[in-house]
Assembly symmetry: C2
Homo-oligomer: 320 residues x 2
């Protein structure tokens, strides 16, 4: 199968045209016509075999996850998904793999009416690079630099189960088969919190999605907003599998485990009811886990308000 | 050096903000505000070590080429460069390599006032994925499907010297050191024909950039426009190094050699003077090499109008 037949078969025939995308796959460039008064939110993520996913990973899950981690970045800006490009390096034109990969990817894309508008296909080590485009009304983005002192800090969903699955696969953590299966769904099928991000527009100040671990990701908000924060480390919403682990692991995985793809956001205290209403609207649970403050640095305190120190770090691609 | 220090050092500090990009590197997404009445032209290209460039390639040239091949796609739409994202997979955080790579990339970006607005950095096999954004007035794009029967077919610059260099490196073609050096500059430092693309707006009908070879790339215009074409294969503008080779090689490299990054475009016969004026404005030579016609298929004829048949093919990532 040639490169062009492959693109035709797996990546173009399922695409409906939209007014926003007058020209999609099949030219030197795609054309995108943003609606008047809107900005584009743009993010790119590259997933490398052996680094972001195991060799031999289920292609359908991989198709889902590759797009999900990008959509999660749109969610963290409060943006509505519009379209994406896909650049794919493949060791061989494996049609069964491509069918499953594109099935997983397009199923998630359809849920969010997010259209594949262009791409590139080449031979090489398995690498997936997606660039995603979302629409947002002028000035409404949830930026990392917009947190205010006194803001509540919230997270969506639960934390740490993706890390449980990873630790299970690496035999660093003993999990029952059913626990591993449950945790694995968090690792392999992250749910981008698009509805919540949209519902938080005009309510939340700052937001970020949790990919490298709560501490490391929250520090980006602190740094960009020029503020500090206190986190109640006993109020973190633990995933159901993490709840069964010992406390040291609970802290570590909830605070520094990667791959959760939940939203962490700040909002004024006066908007607590609005935050909870937005969460109900988005059918996404949220938990208040701390507050922003002038005093720089990130403090973790327990239920008795005693300071807790932890030695673990967030994930860094060039330090681990 | 951490992932974030690396990004800070090599990819953010040189960036000036622009009204079009109210938020660049450093958040979940970048924000892009297109000007009223404009569309975005978007293209993505992935370059893989050992496939698109040799292992150990000069990082400065690689930084140039990675962006140049993407800008070339904008040129082929007649779009004005605005911004790009860079996803980079690197075996190690090699600061000397990164300095040179970013030097090469930013030098070309500055020439075209094209801003790095976001990206991703990860550990893995050396892979470079750029997505580029250009601006184009509504309805003015040079699309592959817009050629008309009777249009002249033109190409910019000269053809085949990049392929001469590649054949030289692979010892498939004997070149003098000075010829190899001259040809190599075409392979390593392609010049995206941005000015020509912009000047051809409103004059040309269809355009494509030549990356896989004239025959294969022109066939995309034929296919999308539902037409055929005749090419005068003795009128092709050969690169100065290719001019020194035997005729069989001249035909093969000019018709099927990759990596030229010239524009091939069609325009009405009545606009010949306008095409030449646009080429002068863009300081880019152009050559008329054939014409579009209703009769399907691509015909090559020599100076005596005799049909010529060739066995070579354009490059395909999954057939070579």
């Amino acid at each position: 199968m040639s490169e062009f037949e492959l693109i035709q078969l797996f990546f173009t025939e399922r695409q409906a045209s939209t007014p926003t995308i007058p020209l999609g796959i099949g030219d030197d460039c795609a054309l995108l016509s943003p609606r008047a008064g809107t900005q584009l939110a743009i993010s790119t993520d590259m997933l490398v075999e052996g680094r972001h996913f195991f060799a031999g990973a289920d292609p359908k899950l991989l198709g889902h996850k590759s797009l999900a981690v990008n959509l999660s970045d749109l969610a963290a800006m409060g943006a509505m998904p519009l379209a994406f490009t896909l650049a794919l390096s493949l060791p061989a034109a494996d049609t069964a793999w491509l069918r499953d990969f594109s099935d997983g990817m397009f199923a998630l894309a359809a849920q969010h009416q997010c259209q594949l508008m262009g791409g590139d296909t080449t031979k090489g080590p398995l690498t997936i690079c997606i660039t995603v485009f979302g629409e947002i009304a002028q000035g409404r983005a949830l930026r990392r630099d917009a947190a205010k002192s006194g803001d509540d800090i919230w997270v969506s969903g639960t934390l740490g189960d993706a890390q449980c699955a990873l630790a299970g696969y690496l035999n660093q953590q003993a999990l029952s088969a059913s626990d591993l299966e449950q945790a694995a769904s968090r690792l392999h099928k992250p749910v981008p919190r698009i509805s919540l991000g949209l519902a938080l527009q005009g309510i939340a100040h700052a937001a970020i999605d949790l990919s490298d671990g709560l501490i490391g990701d929250l520090k980006h908000i602190l740094h960009k907003s020029g503020l500090g924060a206190t986190i109640w480390c006993d109020r973190l919403p633990l995933g159901p599998v993490l709840q069964k682990q010992v406390q040291a692991i609970q802290y570590e995985f909830a605070l520094a485990g990667g791959d959760d793809y939940e939203l962490c956001f700040t909002a004024p205290r006066a908007r607590r009811d609005d935050v909870l209403a937005a969460a109900r609207l988005a059918a996404t649970p949220v938990t208040r886990i701390g507050y922003m403050q002038e005093q720089s640095g990130l403090r973790m305190v327990d239920a008795q308000s005693n300071a807790r120190a932890f030695s673990f770090q967030s994930f860094d691609h060039f330090q681990s």
